[in-house]
Amino acid sequence: MTVRDLLRLVLSNLKRMKARVAMTAIGVIIGTAAVVVLVSLGAGLQRLATESLYGMGGLDELMVRNDSYWGMMEVKANGSAQQQQQNLVLDDVVLDQVRQMEGVIAVTPFLDVTMMGPLKLDRQEGWGQIYGVDMDEFVKVAKLNRGTLELYRGQVVIGAMVPENFIPWEEREESETPPEAPELMGKMLQMMQYTYNEGDMYPTESIVARLEVVGELQQQGYMYDYSIFMPLKEAQRLNQQMNAGLPPEAQSSARKGYAQALVKVQNPNQAPVVEQQIKDMGFTVQSDRQELESINQFFLIVQAILGGIGAVALLVAAFGIANTMVMAIYERTREIGLMKAIGATNQDVMSVFLAEAGSIGFLGGIGGVLLAIGVNAVINVVGQPLISQGGAGFMGPGMAGQEAAQTLTATPLWLPVFAILFATLIGVVSGIYPAIRAAALSPIHALKYE
């Protein structure tokens, strides 16, 4: 029998047990909808988490760290155990080597500027880690929001979130609405040094440097957003100045090279190779990609669990289909006998029952996807306040600045297609046992069945 005839026969058979098909399909609808809704929810949460953390890219950037930089002196004291690490230096020679690697388009040290007090905007205290960077390279990685990246002596460019750090504490605690961050562009930030002399209640304040804010970066990731950048030479000069009063072994000039450096590759695909090469040199590499991978890994498990819960409902529905088909065999026993008498093969009989079971699964799958679309819409309407308010709290500060165009659920395009196919497959599989039973009926017994 041809596929067309099979489908026509199946359709007319389903039509005559409409009520039962509908009730059986409802089981499939609920199961399919549960799978789609729960997986969509998992995918939506994943999107919220990853986009809020890494929405602004950063997958093409690697932070190279020299773990022995800070521990240099301890290593010396400990002896030879970490002799090899001791010799590891992240300096300009190494950075030049990195620059030669395929796909690398920018390399700049991130030199920590020693700070012994807060920053001040007029009387208002704030903070932000100051880094000295190679400005020629930094312009290739930094995304300027406004102002300039051309820095002269005493000028800095700030990360997008730095102004938030200058909101007075009183305002943060008391006001209902988030307080507005002060404007820093064009302002002078005073870099303070607090020294505590014996017997004093309060530290002695002195201004180490005055830094003029001439540029502000776009929001582009944690590494940038809360940092302040100045030319490398300036930073080194400041460090020398800050270190002047310290014992020689505590001075940062006693350490060789840099603690960390930023590497940018042309294409995120090249990042893993470069990362491995640098690791082989003995350095630690930290990238958003690694964190993104572990977050994705986590959400894959979440989605699998959620999908599994939905699949349980689908499994129950599968037994419903099997039951309906077995009942159909009892009802149509004489018809099965007749089909065989007029030339139907066992395969013909089997395919009729498999196709009927598959069709119930298919119909249920379509219904389930439609139901899921509706349920997802409701979840997104009800859940919207959760994202725009509470979301910022636990999803990290990165979200606060973003427009709340997010939804709680995300349905990847493959999901509804997969769900319908899966429901159909479930139907066919639950039809196997009834179909075999139908095909195995002896024609004479079937014809005489009352």
């Binding site: 005839d5 058979n13 018809e335 030339g343 093969t345 066992n346 002896s442 024609p443 014809l447």
Partner: protein, 229 residues
């Protein structure tokens, strides 16, 4: 013997009922020539229906041979047997066995679906067949809208769908009144006389023998007496 027609040799069919073995057919040798109209007579339980089902490939013998059109159908595999049932024989049952959700036309078309006849040809042939059994005005009716005699005529048209040379009828008049039964037997006779189809009819109704060219009597699974007019 010729390759055409039906011949059985020492045909046996046992049924196990509890711990007892019932010999429904106990060594039947039968020859039906091409173009015969054979009436198989006998009381209930004589094994006449069992014989018909074996001839039609709906059941398999315990032992013996069934030669139809030159081959032993007892040796055919399941699929070949299904094809045999679909193409070489046509069944007419006492209880009609029409599909209730299908119209008369669809019921007649049904066997052609399994024989993979294209839809257009199928439709045309079903119409011709229904006209031949005198149901040209009833094609779109469902079985429940037809009288018993009409239903049996639809069933006969269905038996002819794949143009088999052999028609096997199991008590075709059993569910009909005398007059309608006569009409059905007339129709089968025409198929035999005018188209040369071999007809084997099983009945316990003695009037059937008047239409048949031959009759055999079965009793306790054995053929009684001689064949003949």
């Amino acid at each position: 013997m010729t390759a055409e027609g039906i011949r059985t040799q020492d045909l046996r069919r046992d049924f196990v009922m509890g711990d007892q073995v019932v010999h429904a057919l106990d060594g039947v040798d039968l020859e039906v020539c091409e173009g015969d109209f054979l009436a198989v007579m006998g009381p209930s339980g004589s094994g006449k229906s069992t014989l018909l089902y074996l001839l039609g490939g709906l059941d398999r013998p315990t032992a013996g041979e069934i030669w139809v059109n030159g081959r032993d159908i007892a040796q055919l595999d399941e699929n070949a047997l299904a094809t045999y049932r679909g193409q070489e024989v046509g069944f007419v049952f006492q209880a009609f066995h029409l599909i209730p959700t299908m119209t008369a036309l669809q019921n007649v078309e049904f066997p052609m679906i399994f024989n993979r006849i294209p839809p257009v040809e199928r439709r045309a042939r079903a119409i011709t067949l229904l006209e031949r059994v005198g149901l040209e005005g009833r094609m779109a009716h469902r079985p429940t809208e037809l009288s018993g005699g009409q239903q049996q005529r639809v069933a006969i048209a269905r038996a002819l769908a794949n143009d088999p040379r052999i028609i096997l009828a199991d008590e075709p008049t059993g569910n009909l009144d005398t007059h309608t039964g006569q009409e059905v037997l007339d129709l089968l006779t025409r198929l035999n006389r005018e188209e040369g189809r071999t007809i084997v009819i099983v009945s316990h109704d003695a009037s059937v023998t008047r239409f048949a060219t031959r009759a055999v009597h079965l009793l306790d699974g054995k053929v009684q007496g001689a064949n003949g007019e």
